[in-house]
């Protein structure tokens, strides 16, 4: 291990351990840094499937989050994360292989090509389905502010809710979504 990656490991591990202790800010910082490493990791391995990268980053972040009870504080974090990322990568490739064996991938569906380059950072899988389970007062603020990028004022105008109701809706909606994810959807 080089000195550089050793320091990175120590730094990430400290954030993760604080996160496991209930420090949400440290945990968010951990996930944020981790996502950049994951993106690079998957991008190197999915040169031909660039559109899968961001979905896989998100799936792996979800897996890291849901399985974080399997990380023990004395274990090298890099090995733990790497094993999860590899598992999710292989899982995705296997699913794709099965899917393509059943369906001709370029069947006469124009959508396949039409959507190829729109915003690589937007992954729709799963999250849209989770969002549908929320009540409107949580769902709409997240939809407008976080997904469509409206300002709080614009979202308030569009929904007829007050600005503070929008802010509270986003906050509580996130918590409710997190609870849905924790309970396994």
């Amino acid at each position: 291990m080089t000195i550089h990656s050793h320091m990175k490991e120590e730094h990430l591990r400290e954030l993760m351990v604080r996160g496991l202790g209930g420090d949400q800010a440290a945990y968010a910082a951990f996930l944020k840094e981790l996502s950049t490493h994951l993106r690079a990791f998957f991008r190197r391995r999915l040169v031909r499937l660039p559109d899968e990268v961001e979905d896989l980053v998100q799936e792996t972040l979800l897996a890291v989050h849901n399985q974080r009870h399997t990380y023990e504080r004395d274990q090298p974090l890099t090995a733990w994360v790497h094993a999860i990322a590899r598992y999710k990568l292989i899982d995705m490739l296997r699913r794709r292989a099965n899917h393509e064996a059943l369906n001709d991938p370029l069947d006469d569906e124009p959508g396949v090509l039409a959507h190829s380059d729109t915003e690589a950072v937007d992954a729709q899988r799963d999250v849209a389905r989770l969002l549908e389970q929320l009540p409107d007062r949580h769902r709409l603020p997240i939809l407008y502010v976080k997904l469509n990028g409206l300002s709080v004022a614009e979202a308030a105008h569009a929904t007829g809710m007050s600005e503070s109701a929008i802010k509270i809706g986003v906050h509580r909606g996130f918590k409710a979504l997190a609870a849905l994810i924790r309970s396994g959807k």
Binding site: L20, A123, K146
Partner: protein
Amino acid sequence: MRTDDLIAMLAAGASRVEPGASSRRLRRALVWGMPCAALLMAVFLGVRPDLREAVLLPMFWLKLLFPVSVAALSFALAQRLSRPGVRMGRLPGALGSIFIALWLFGAAALGLAAPSERGEMLLGESWNSCPFNIALLSLPLFATAMWAMKGLAPTRLSMAGAAAGLLAGAAGAAVYALHCPEMQAPFLGIWYVAGMLIPTAAGALAGPKLLRW
């Protein structure tokens, strides 16, 4: 959804996590699975009637020591295989050496015995039911261990399933030893091992389907 929003959402719901989850879950599997196996044994097979005399014999304890030590090591192995990025280390070798030690012991016993006794030492009275009874008694623990593992994060699914199966098989064999009247090492080396390998193979086959996450 943007990745940053996903992160904000995940972090917002992150509560404290207690350490030691994998060993806790697997221990809980044992706590539920073992009494069920003992109950199955007591109801369908019955404790051996001469248990009081048998506990005075060293062979009785050896017969228990073998499956118990396999169960202990496969418990540790199952724990490691339930956590991403943890190596198996020396456990497979240690497990292998328990079997080899039993086989050497059995071979020595056979070698020292009169040729006319050897058939009896190998087959005993119950060779044709022993492996299946062990497999039967392993069922409750097989179910609970698989359930425990499913809540963790195995990344090598066949291996993990096999370790859970071996744990169930070895624990089943330990319970079965309280019923079984056989007292010969060669018998253990063949039929007990066969009984443990049934759930092990089942676990290896079922792992990739049952343990996905």
